[in-house]
Amino acid sequence: MEIEQASILRHQPCGGAYRELVLNAPAIAASVRPGQFLHLRIPRFEQAVLRRPFSVFRAEGEHISILYKTVGAGTMALTGVREGEVVNVMGPLGNGFPSSSPGSLPVLVAGGYGVAPLYLLARRMDMAGIIFIGAATSDDVLCVEDFAAFGWQIEIATEDGSRGARGLVTGPLDAWLASRRCPEQPEIFACGPDGMLRAVGERAIKAGHRAWLSMDRHMGCGVGACLGCVQRLKKADGSAYWGRVCRDGPVFDASQIVWNNG
């Protein structure tokens, strides 16, 4: 875990409300694992007492990037920062995704900007699998060319039907799970809004597949100190406790999660 004063190398629109911010952060770039995140002090937004968490999207050499969506005041301020400016970055934080089990077929499920950590995961895997990308509309469907370039099978669903199947990403996922003929056991890695994660987790548990879900919670410290980001989890013996999404997560085994705070 480091704090780096990272200079901005590139900051570019990626369609819709999304942008990619590329930073020079050698120490973080050298150690980051897929699914880990950065806690950014947003420049020109210094009146805010809290940093903002973003998954690491790309990491090559000394560079890292995030793929973010403008949703509120902090991300809005971030859109105004320019190449050459410096961002105070804490990271890498959190546990990240585990490496896929030998002999399994990686099945990724992304909702909106949830595709960011899954991109890095796919990039670092030595085999191709299948990715399900869900979004509200075609503008929110990201990274399709990247996954295609890695040789991944891609299934898309948009709620308004503007690209791929109409409806939720669980539609194509269910169809695939029911009809698949591959010998390998699917292992699911998902990142997106809670509703999607819950639906994916429930399907995985029912079908007996392992599923790893990366959660999005409003964060304070980002390091496990404030207990602001907690999620109800269950232990092997069935007892429930609060896990810290920032430190014990953000990735949890679907079977551990207690939805609705149990």
């Binding site: 875990m1 704090i3 002090r41 809290l50 105070n88 410290c221 390091v223 496990g224 404030c226 602001g228």
Partner: protein
């Protein structure tokens, strides 16, 4: 004389002694904003802190409130964590060994729902190696059962402090609530009941509403406001408390930069604590220490102790 002693003269003495606890500088980290120590240890050399005040500990494990627990507001943060903690035994077994490996005073923040629970946890920590003092939280706005109920009634505040006093030889630091009409009365009651210092302020009771859903943002409905927004309120209360007592006062509330800490010292605090700003920048305490030292040099002071209570009133 050689030049070395002259240079030494210019390095101000930053050490303070609070309630018998020797600190190499007067800048501590506030309870609940620095975990138990290990969480920030990769980023902050713990030895650089005046003291670590750990997250509130109860005799038994406590789950705290449901979520959401925090929400950012203008100038700060409203939290309703609800004093989640692993309980005294787990803390002593699993975290104290880590803290003992670091050369920094550890102040354990304790709380209870009844006077008997305060006594129980205070007694448990008496004699635990590596614990330098107890901060007694009688001012948490986030649990119904206790906390603030003790801190906003002089009789019960005196009773808790007196009864805890009888259970421990450790330096005792009651943490006062800002939610009272006359803080001086509470500070004096604490001193009379045997406190070795007082600390203030805890968070201010607060509420945030989601106007689209017309629901409270926090699961606990209400919470406590911290951060820069509360700093001037805290300075005034520290000033009043310091006038009322002879024991040292520890000032906190909204410190984000050296000048915020210097204000507390000038108002009468002997030490300060950085809270919410740890989330913004874990290096804040170090920046504040360096900034106070610079201030002392540029104002011709040899010791930080000269700053305490140096407020000039009138013309």
């Amino acid at each position: 004389m050689s030049t070395a002693p002259q240079r030494m003269d210019r390095i101000p003495d930053m050490s303070v002694n609070i309630a018998g606890i020797h600190m190499r500088n007067p800048v501590m980290v506030a309870s609940g904003t620095f975990g138990y120590g290990p969480e920030y240890a990769d980023l902050v050399p713990l030895e650089s802190l005046g003291a670590i005040v750990v997250k509130g500990i109860h005799m038994r494990p406590w789950e705290g409130n449901s979520t959401p627990r925090i929400v950012e507001v203008a100038g700060g943060l409203v939290n309703a964590i609800g004093l989640q903690n692993p309980g005294a035994e787990k803390f002593i077994d699993e975290i104290m060994p880590f803290l003992r490996r670091h050369d920094v005073p550890v102040i354990v923040n304790i709380w209870g729902r009844t006077v008997a629970e305060y006594e129980e946890v205070a007694e448990r920590f008496d004699g635990v190696a590596g614990v330098s003092g107890l901060e007694v939280n009688i001012s948490c706005p986030n649990i119904k059962e206790g906390g603030i109920a003790f801190g906003t009634n002089v009789k019960s505040a005196s009773e808790v402090i007196g009864r805890v006093r009888a259970k421990t030889r450790l330096p005792l630091i009651p943490k006062l609530s800002p939610n009272v009409t006359d803080i001086g009365i509470f500070a004096r009651a604490a001193e009379d009941a045997g406190a070795d210092a007082v600390s203030l302020i805890n968070t201010l009771p607060a509420m945030v509403i989601d106007i689209e859903k017309r629901t409270p943002v926090l699961a606990n409905v209400v919470g406590g406001l911290s951060g820069p927004a509360i700093h001037p309120v805290a300075v005034k209360l520290v000033w009043e408390a310091a006038k009322a007592v002879r024991i040292p006062v520890i000032g906190m509330g909204g410190i984000a930069a050296p000048r915020d800490a210097i204000e507390f010292l000038v108002a009468g605090a002997s030490a300060v604590a950085v809270g919410t700003a740890n989330f913004t920048d874990p290096g804040t305490a170090a920046t504040v220490v360096a900034g106070i030292a610079d201030y002392l040099v540029s104002h011709g002071m040899k010791s930080v102790r000269e700053l305490t209570g140096s407020l000039r009133l009138g013309n």
